[in-house]
């Protein structure tokens, strides 16, 4: 499909917007429909679209195997790490309000707790997004691999 | 009854367990290896004997090793019956050790280290069984004996040896797992304990039918006692080297079998309960059948060891019979027969092994005139066979006498007839051997030319000693009878 100029041009135009939309979905995941999972899938889809229109080698040049592997791990690590940070901050696992620390008992307690839990959720969403995107890519690359390699 | 808490029974056991390790490590130095065997045998006997005076005073020595689970305890109790068995076994182990060394070296057998290790391990288990304080411990060592002797039975690693060993393990492991363990489960369920008690533990705990079932399961499950129809392993196990047949299949293994049966009869059921159940007589007839049948089969065997094996089957049933008649005299006769039969039968096996090692003969028909070349051996054989038949003053007479008295006391004349008939049969299958050895001409072509057949001292001395032993027991049976009376008191 490499020679189809229309597809290549359209993809080149669309992919940045697709990815921007993905970031939007991730960023608004805490209170509205969306979130890391959906956003991640969209990012993954954008990469898959790129590979379909520009071919495997080109795709792997953009997102090499080590990068997707790293993203795979890093996303989950972020997720789990935030959970552990909650423990270190004195709460239960994934108890984001623990991040509020002393502010949880101050005059802006409600605000602080709200902020802390949003921060926590954002971190989680980003982690999930990274992992899902990477997993989508990995599955695609692995299954689309040629027989001879 | 006074109870002494002491770890001595454990030491008696552990001596040979330590020896197993030492023997294993000195596999490169045969002399050192054999030294460990003999040292362990002597020390073991000494420890066992050191407990005899206390037991004769009516005390028991108890030691609890570990409680695996509530109700499942590895415990030891030295009582008269146990010490009788342990003393016999450990004494004969000393003689057998010497004899084994002679046998193994003369025949240049392979895997001697494994042989001596398994031997010592078996002795550990035998003493453990003798001193077991409860049915679980007894079962444990009963099974351990089966496993430790398996390599000994299959020692030759020939197809026949393997077949024999397989039969051996199938019979012994199979019956004990299928029936004995079942009986133990039922006993525990009924009585809530497995601890041996001189009154029995089962009385009044379950229905008559259930108790009968337990009884039958126990008798069927203790195949080591060689009661028909589970006797076939014994002739099959004769593929083993002769010292193994001698000590294990005349003393340790089969005696553990009858010992277990006696334990079950006297200490799990208790005499009173057996009288109540009224199964003693039926079982006695059943056992009598084994006595007679095995004797008949023995008559037909030309292979010396096979004949001895069937004789063992028959003699073991005397012991069980004695217990089943449920009279004091017959019980004494049965218990004493454990020791008497051990001494006599080991002599016979020693002789068979000696003949094989020195002259490479296994069949009775080849024995014509052999007494000229091996006079001591055949003399010992003669004495031991007299004991088997029950001629005074040799040991066998004592037990047979008590058995006969017991059968009269129990007004059980058919059993008396069985005893007499079996005496005739014993004579019929033992005396011709002696006759052949002493009075027939040897056939020239039977011998390898240029090879001088003569007695091997290290093998001849033990068998003479055991023969003398059985005479001494026959002349002075008081010691054993005292112990036996302690048991049933």
């Amino acid at each position: 499909m490499k020679e189809h100029i229309v597809i290549r041009t359209v993809s080149r135009l669309l992919i940045p917007f697709i990815q921007l939309f993905a970031l939007y979905v991730i960023a608004h995941g805490d209170i509205s429909p969306g979130g890391g999972f959906q956003g991640g899938v969209i990012i993954g889809a954008s990469v898959i679209l790129y590979v379909i229109s520009f071919g495997m080698e080109d795709g792997r040049r953009r997102v090499s195997e080590s990068i997707s592997d790293f993203m795979n791990s890093a996303g989950v690590f972020l997720f789990a790490g935030i959970g552990v940070l909650c423990i270190l901050a004195g709460g239960a696992y994934l108890e984001y309000t623990a991040f509020a620390g002393k502010a949880a008992h101050g005059e802006h307690a409600e605000h602080a707790l709200h902020l802390a839990s949003h921060l926590g959720i954002y971190g989680i969403e980003i982690g999930v997004g990274i992992t899902v995107a990477a997993v989508m890519m990995t599955i695609f690359f692995e299954t689309a691999r040629h027989e001879d390699d | 009854m006074e109870i002494i808490h002491s770890a001595r029974p454990l030491y008696a056991m552990a001596v040979s367990a330590v020896a197993v390790v030492l023997i294993g490590f000195s596999y490169e130095r045969p002399n050192l290896r054999e030294f460990w065997t003999i040292l362990a045998a002597v020390v073991k006997f000494a420890i066992v004997m050191s407990m005899v005076p206390a037991v004769l005073d009516g005390k028991t020595i108890e030691y609890s090793l570990v409680t695996i689970l509530p109700g499942l305890e590895i415990g030891f109790k030295v009582d008269p019956m146990g010490i009788l068995f342990a003393a016999t076994a450990s004494f004969l182990w000393i003689l057998t050790s010497f004899y084994s060394i002679g046998y193994m070296r003369t025949l240049k057998e392979h895997a001697q280290t494994r042989y001596f290790m398994c031997f010592a391990a078996t002795m550990t288990a035998t003493i453990g069984a003798a001193f077991a304080a409860n049915m679980f411990t007894l079962f444990l060592f009963y099974e351990a004996i089966t496993l430790c002797t398996f390599p000994l039975v299959g020692h030759k690693e020939t197809p026949e040896a393997r077949a024999g060993a397989r039969k051996y393990i199938v019979y012994l492991l199979g019956t004990s797992l299928a029936f004995q363990l079942f009986a133990i489960f039922l006993t525990y369920n009924a009585a809530g304990t497995l601890e041996f008690s001189s009154q029995g533990i089962l009385a009044g705990t379950a229905s008559k039918t259930m108790l009968t079932v337990i009884f039958v399961l126990f008798i069927a499950g203790i195949a080591k006692a060689g009661i028909m129809p589970f006797h076939n392993w014994l002739p099959a196990a004769m593929v083993a080297p002769t010292p193994v047949s001698a000590l294990l299949h005349a003393v340790a293994v089969v005696k553990t079998g009858v010992f277990s049966i006696l334990r079950v009869l006297f200490f799990v059921f208790g005499t009173d309960l057996l009288v109540d159940l009224d199964i003693g007589t039926a079982a006695a007839y059943f056992v009598s059948f084994t006595i007679i049948m095995a004797s008949f089969v023995a008559l037909t065997k030309d292979n010396l060891k096979a004949r001895l094996a069937y004789s063992t089957v028959s003699q073991l049933s005397y012991i069980v019979l004695g217990a089943l008649l449920l009279t004091p005299s017959s019980a004494v006769g049965g218990i004493v027969h454990i020791a008497n039969h051990a001494f006599s039968k080991i002599t016979l096996f020693f002789c068979a092994g000696h003949i094989y090692a020195a002259a490479h003969k296994t069949n009775i028909s080849q024995l014509g005139g052999i007494a000229r070349r091996m006079p001591w051996t055949m003399a010992a054989f003669f004495i031991a066979s007299l004991s088997m038949i029950g001629v005074p003053p040799v040991a066998g007479f004592v037990s047979k006498w008590y058995l006969a008295v017991g059968s009269v006391e129990a007004l059980n004349y058919p059993v008396l007839v069985v005893l007499l008939a079996s005496t005739m049969l014993n004579a019929a299958y033992f005396l011709p051997i002696t006759y052949k050895a002493f009075f027939e001409r040897e056939k020239e072509d039977e011998y390898h030319h240029g090879e001088e057949v003569r007695e091997i001292p290290i093998m001849a001395i033990p068998l003479v000693l055991t023969a003398v032993g059985s005479v001494i027991i026959g002349l002075y049976p008081d010691y054993f009878i005292a112990l036996a009376r302690e048991v049933i008191r």
Partner: protein, 498 residues
């Protein structure tokens, strides 16, 4: 810093994080993956031990994930029952990790080793999660985590048949898991809660509801598939036969045990004993299935020529024991059942490890070729003999302890007819193990074995030592049985609602 009350989550999160970082650090050096796995499993085990000690002293522990109070949030619960299983699973996994290093170097291509350990840890995480969670949907998620990594682990086997085994396992496993999730949906529909304790409180008044009963049926079928309870066992022999030795050992020792745990947990703590015993007497069906599993598993094992397959069928039989004890459902039999979870993990683990060591050194998997192996690999074969004796149920080994409890339990429940079944299977087990023991010690070396170079004889130290260690534990806990029994008895009491 990390306080004691966070232990329940740490048991899960440490292997999870380690699983994530293994592929990354594995790039630096391939043995780091192994080190991470070892560290993670050891920490998990240490925490599990700390947990069970605390539980035995201070009573059950409840942990609220994210600080959300149950039944709204996910709750992790530790009781004597799952504390025991936690310890068993993590302990066995440590031993197998130690064993895995050399074995995996041979079984898995070098570039895949970090991924192997990653999956291995994920599998472990899933199992621990299944055991510790108190939320029924979370349970499903963990079941899937362990199952998915399990499929991938099986597919790493050396032969191409491993792929087929893994595929069939995947299909059946997914059916099982989907049934479970349907059951969860039914329960949620009528109760509106996913918390197990909450469910348990709400369900009794709904026992007559068809929905609740269908949910139970879904659970039973789904879990029987996961558990490989006869007749749902068809995936198991292929999986055990074709997966890498380490995976066979791990799965045989842990994953079916954990499924058995889930079954017990659902039967007795989500539903109550009275439900499974009287309202819907499913235990009666399970008794029959268990008895069939015990006998048929042993009979089929008898006919096998491949040692791994034989052990697999023997596992089918042994799972029957666990279910039998649970279905008789009295204190003694339940204790026996729980003990058998632990004991069977020890013996089957060690047996599979012996086979792994043998495959590592000689490549032999056929029983026929094992003749004379005792002369080549004396230590491994000693371990095999101990394992075999334990499987037979020889006194002084762990196998006897659980059989004892099962038998006593059966007699207490007046179900004496199970005793002949137990004993018959012991006999069959004796037959199929003893013929191997005899062959390895009392026969000339097979042609295949004789054709191999005599040195080196034993598998590497790490493999031999761990195998022996596990088999020695079969004896140690056969003598010192009172230690695990104490926990098992407490757990059994809890399950039976006492």
């Amino acid at each position: 810093m990390i306080s004691a009350e966070n232990l329940p989550i740490l048991v899960i999160i440490i292997p999870l994080i380690s699983a994530i970082i293994t592929p990354l650090v594995g790039r630096i050096h391939r043995s780091i993956g192994w080190l991470v796995a070892l560290l993670a499993t050891s920490l998990s085990f240490a925490y599990s031990l700390a947990l069970i000690r605390s539980v035995m002293e201070n009573g059950p522990i409840s942990y609220w994930l994210g600080g959300w109070e149950p039944p709204w949030g996910i709750e992790y619960v530790v009781t004597p029952f799952n504390g025991l299983v936690l310890c068993v699973v993590s302990f066995i996994t440590i031993v197998i990790t130690l064993y895995a290093r050399k074995s995996i170097e041979q079984d898995v291509s070098e570039s895949k080793i970090p991924f192997f350990y990653s999956l291995y840890l994920l599998f472990f995480t899933g199992l621990m999660g299944i055991v510790i969670t108190g939320d029924i949907f979370n349970l499903y998620v963990f079941i899937e985590i362990s199952a998915l990594s399990g499929y991938a682990l099986v597919a790493m086997g050396r032969e191409r048949d491993a792929l087929i085994a893994s595929y069939n396992y995947l299909i059946l496993g997914t059916i099982g898991a989907s049934f479970i999730v349907l059951g969860i949906g039914y329960l949620y529909m009528v109760t509106g809660t996913l918390n197990m304790a909450d469910l348990s409180a709400r369900l009794p008044e709904l026992y007559d509801s068809t929905t609740v009963r269908s949910a139970f049926a879904f659970f039973m079928v789904g879990l029987s598939l996961k558990l490989a309870l006869f007749p749902f066992h068809i995936w198991l022999p292929n999986v055990y036969t074709h997966s890498p030795s380490t995976v066979s050992a791990l799965m045989a020792a842990t994953s079916t045990k954990v499924s058995a745990y889930v079954l017990l947990r659902l039967m007795f703590t989500v539903y109550r004993p009275e439900f499974v015993l009287t309202v819907v007497p499913v235990t009666k069906i399970l008794l029959v299935l268990a008895a069939l599993a015990i006998i048929i598993g042993s009979v089929i094992a008898l006919a096998q020529t491949n040692i791994k397959r034989m052990l697999a069928y023997s596992s089918v039989g042994q799972i029957g024991y666990i279910i039998l004890g649970a279905s008789i459902a009295n204190q003694a039999s339940m204790t026996g059942s729980l003990m058998h979870i632990f004991n069977h993990a020890l013996m089957k683990g060690s047996l599979f490890m012996v086979v792994g060591a043998m495959v590592y050194r000689t490549g032999i998997v056929n029983i026929e070729d094992m003749r004379g192996m005792g002369k080549k690999m004396p230590f491994a074969m000693a371990a095999f003999t101990i394992g075999a004796l334990s499987m037979i149920g020889f006194p002084f080994t762990v196998g006897f302890v659980s059989k004892w409890y099962l038998a006593v339990g059966a007699l207490k429940a007046d179900m004496w007819y199970f005793i002949p079944i137990i004993l018959l299977s012991s006999l069959l087990t004796a037959v199929y193990f003893w013929r191997i023991v005899e062959a390895i010690y009392f026969r000339e070396k097979s042609e295949k074995l004789a054709g191999l170079p005599s040195e080196p004889a034993e598998a590497p130290f790490g493999m031999t030592a761990t195998t022996l260690f596990l088999s020695l534990l079969c004896i140690v806990f056969g003598i010192a049985a009172f230690i695990p029994t104490k926990v098992a008895a407490a757990a059994a009491k809890l399950l039976l609602g006492g």
